[in-house]
């Protein structure tokens, strides 16, 4: 059985562990063997985004040490994958040994829908859902990794599910890590627009595959439109769209 190393971002670990469980279930369902290094923590993205490169470097080195022996690393978060693939080599550029190790690791890290569709060639994971689903194109998944068709293929293959378009699907939802906290007014206005698109789409469920957007859009829905449902793609596929509680 193919061994797949789980890279569970801290947002999922702490605030939405069921997304991680869903990834485990799905990988097992399609015949892969997920393993999990308990020494993993965070990829360092918060430090990188705030400008603390020396601090981010320290975290990057820990990550590389934990994961570098794994042939395949899969994560349910696009921006964390971008951090490892793009920013690790960038910040370690002046340390040749670490730079080489970062470069070496980069091509083995996959976003989860990308891994299922592009590598395992799986589209139908045996899920079913009666209803209309719409998909939010998260920035780092779409523009960072160029992943857009893969999650849609997975959704289309769900028995009974109808994938319908979302207006401005590729506009940012206003998360941006510390941005949401530091510029709350602008961020609120952005997430409000995103939610409006969802509400007018006629979909029963908003699906996405980035935990940051999940926490942001979900947090806004939970506060302002409590009946409206949002799910991470992994949860959607693993639970046939039944798990839709935002909280823990």
């Amino acid at each position: 059985m193919k061994e797949v190393s789980l890279f569970i971002p801290c947002t999922v670990d702490l605030f939405a562990p069921r997304i991680g469980e869903a990834v485990v279930n799905l990988l097992r369902r399609v015949g892969a063997n997920p393993i999990y290094h308990e020494e993993q923590t965070c990829c360092g993205q918060p430090a990188m985004n705030a400008g603390y490169r020396e601090e981010a470097k320290k975290v990057a080195k820990h990550f590389i040490t934990v994961f570098e022996k794994d042939p395949v690393i899969v994560s349910p978060a696009g921006s964390c994958v971008c951090m490892v693939k793009d920013h690790y080599p960038e910040i370690l550029e002046d340390e040749p040994d670490w730079f080489r190790r970062a470069k070496d690791l980069a091509p083995r890290v996959y976003e989860f829908s990308q891994y299922l569709v592009d590598v395992l060639k799986v589209e139908d994971v045996g899920a079913s859902f009666e209803g209309k689903v719409t998909y939010h194109e998260s920035c780092h998944i779409l523009r960072g990794l160029g992943v857009s068709e893969q999650p849609k293929k997975l959704i289309r293959a769900v028995k009974g599910a109808q994938l319908i378009p979302l207006d401005n699907a590729d506009s940012c939802c206003g998360f941006g890590g510390e941005f949401a906290n530091d510029f709350p007014d602008i961020s609120e206005s952005m997430v409000k627009d995103k939610v409006e698109s969802f509400l007018t789409s006629g979909a029963d469920l908003l699906v996405l595959n980035e935990p940051g957007c999940f926490l942001n859009i979900g947090g806004y829905l939970n506060r302002n439109h409590p009946g409206k449902r949002i799910m991470h793609l992994a949860s959607f596929l693993a639970t046939n769209g039944r798990e839709a509680e935002y909280g823990n």
Binding site: I8, D13, L14, F15, A16, P17, G20, E21, V24, N33, Y36, E39, Q40, T41, C42, P46, A47, N49, A50, G51, Y52, R53, E54, E55, A56, K58, V59, H62, C139, H140, R143, G144, S171, G174, F175, G176, G177, F179, A180, N181, D182, F183, P184, D185, I186, S187, E188, S189, M190, V191, D193, L215, N216, G219, N222, R223, N224, Y246, G247, N248
Partner: protein, 478 residues
């Protein structure tokens, strides 16, 4: 123009509450973006055209000192007079002195961002020289004493009723009308009179061509051509990065700038000047001055990474594609350049300290980068500026970050590289974080994270993290 970059958050908040701005931003940017996309789509290979644009600008910057000298040599040979201005003051002073020497009572101006940057209008007016902006949008913005809302449409957000009232008051519009064509016509008649008697015209420059010593302007109203051709003295002001190597390169930049500005294949007017009027010619200025403005750019140029900001050709496509600009519009950025363009340029020209919020007010969504026709990686530059700011780099006029924040990230990185400390931190944070949790959701918090809770909840920290679930349950099921 008064610099208000420090007030970004405050100005943004004001604009978020402005009904007019909200209404406008809901409609127009999407239309402009669609036009831009359609404009680019009529190129045989849009992404190749963008890659070519990026290569031209990269080469021009790599050879900048050499190209500027070549431009000066050829422009001078063509009879132009080139003046090098180290900063805004030198540029303004030169133009003011020239106007005084020539006994000029007023100047007409073609749209020029660099003179917004140097605040030329204010200085000339202080010295009793009237300034008439002749781009219709710029004319309206000037009369209203407002900064440009959008680089290509400086007054695009001003409602037609306000324009009518302004024209009645300022240019003697006789019959009140809301017909944009009639209003445009009234401005045209008014400005024609100004052009008729003008003694000195001031314009910007879209592209300067080193190999021929030519400057090029693109526009849709013909006012720049008037400003260049009517008066005996023409002054064209350019920031020093505007130069490219060859006419072929320049034409490609025009191809890109028009499409990315307005979706046009080419603007209504393109004018090229390679010197003042010659003896046997019937029109054109008798004297043509080129003012090349540095204003901090050669310092930016020393930094190989930040240098990329100088690729910008001011097309404005990044503004209408930016989800933040689309919420707050141009005023919030507090200066001549707004949106991602301003977020990469302003910090370099004004320094990192007074532009803090500009390079932080980004979700790093990458929309700007994905459409930039000259390959600027805006998010990467924002991260670079943030990093320079953390280092307190004096070359970037940065003054370091708050002590608490630095301490926080030191702790964070130590814990994230030390698994037992990380896990202990999680256990310690949980009861604090979940103090007010209800139904598994936290809806308020005090202290540094309260911004999040203004409009959102967050799940309570899980009693058993994924880590715990794996250890206690998931691992053995495999």
């Amino acid at each position: 123009m008064e610099i208000k970059t420090e007030q970004f958050t405050e100005l943004a908040r004001k604009e978020l509450k402005n009904e007019r701005t909200r209404f406008f931003l809901k409609v127009i940017p999407a239309v402009m973006k669609a036009r831009r996309d359609a404009g680019m789509a009529n190129l045989p290979d849009p992404s190749a055209a963008m890659a070519c644009g990026a290569a031209i600008r990269a080469e021009a910057l790599a050879r900048l000192p050499e190209l500027l000298e070549e431009f000066e040599k050829n422009a001078t040979a063509n009879g132009m007079k080139v003046f090098w201005a180290r900063d805004d003051k030198e540029a303004n002073e030169f133009i003011k002195k020239l106007a005084k020497e020539k006994g000029v009572r007023y100047v007409t101006k073609g749209k020029s961002m660099v003179t917004e940057e140097t605040a030329l209008n204010e200085l000339l007016e202080e010295h009793g020289i009237e300034v008439w902006e002749t781009d219709l949008g710029e004319f309206i913005a000037q009369q209203l004493h407002r900064p440009p809302f959008h680089i290509v449409g400086p007054a695009i957000n001003v409602p037609v009723e306000e324009v009518r009232d302004l024209f009645i008051q300022k240019i003697g519009l006789k019959e009140p009308t809301l017909d944009p064509i009639q209003l445009g016509y009234a401005a045209r008649l008014f400005l024609r009179d100004k052009f008729h008697h003008v003694q000195m015209g001031v314009t910007g420059v879209n592209v300067a061509v080193a190999e021929t010593g030519t400057i090029i302007n693109v526009e849709n109203e013909g006012n720049i051509r008037f400003t260049k051709a009517s008066p005996p003295v023409q002054v064209s002001v350019m920031s020093l990065e505007k130069v490219v190597a060859s006419m072929e390169d320049a034409l490609h930049m025009i191809r890109l700038v028009c499409r990315n500005c307005t979706g046009q294949r080419i603007s209504v007017y393109v004018s090229m000047d390679s010197g003042p009027k010659k003896k046997d010619e019937i029109d054109g200025p008798e004297e043509l001055y080129i003012v090349i403005v540095d204003n901090g750019r050669s310092k930016i140029y020393q930094d190989a990474k930040a240098r990329d900001a100088l690729r910008c050709i001011r097309c404005g496509a990044c503004l209408v594609s930016c989800p933040v600009w689309r919420q707050v519009g141009g005023y919030a950025y507090g200066w001549a350049y707004s949106g991602p363009m301003g977020q990469v340029l302003n910090p370099m020209i004004l320094g990192l300290e007074r532009t803090q919020e500009l390079y932080r007010a980004s979700t790093l969504c990458g929309s700007c980068k994905s459409i930039c026709p000259v390959g600027i990686d805006h998010p990467s530059l924002f991260l670079y500026y943030r990093a320079k700011d953390v280092l307190g780099d004096p070359n970037f006029k940065s003054v370091n970050r708050p002590w608490m924040e630095r301490k926080f990230f030191k702790m964070f990185s130590w814990a994230a590289a030390t698994p037992w400390a990380w896990n202990m931190g999680v256990r310690m944070a949980r009861p604090i974080m979940n103090k007010d949790a209800q139904n598994g959701v936290v809806s308020k918090a005090k202290g540094p994270f309260q911004g999040w809770f203004r409009s959102r909840n967050i799940p309570a920290m899980a009693g058993d993290t994924f880590h715990d679930r794996w250890k206690n349950n998931l691992k053995d099921k495999g």
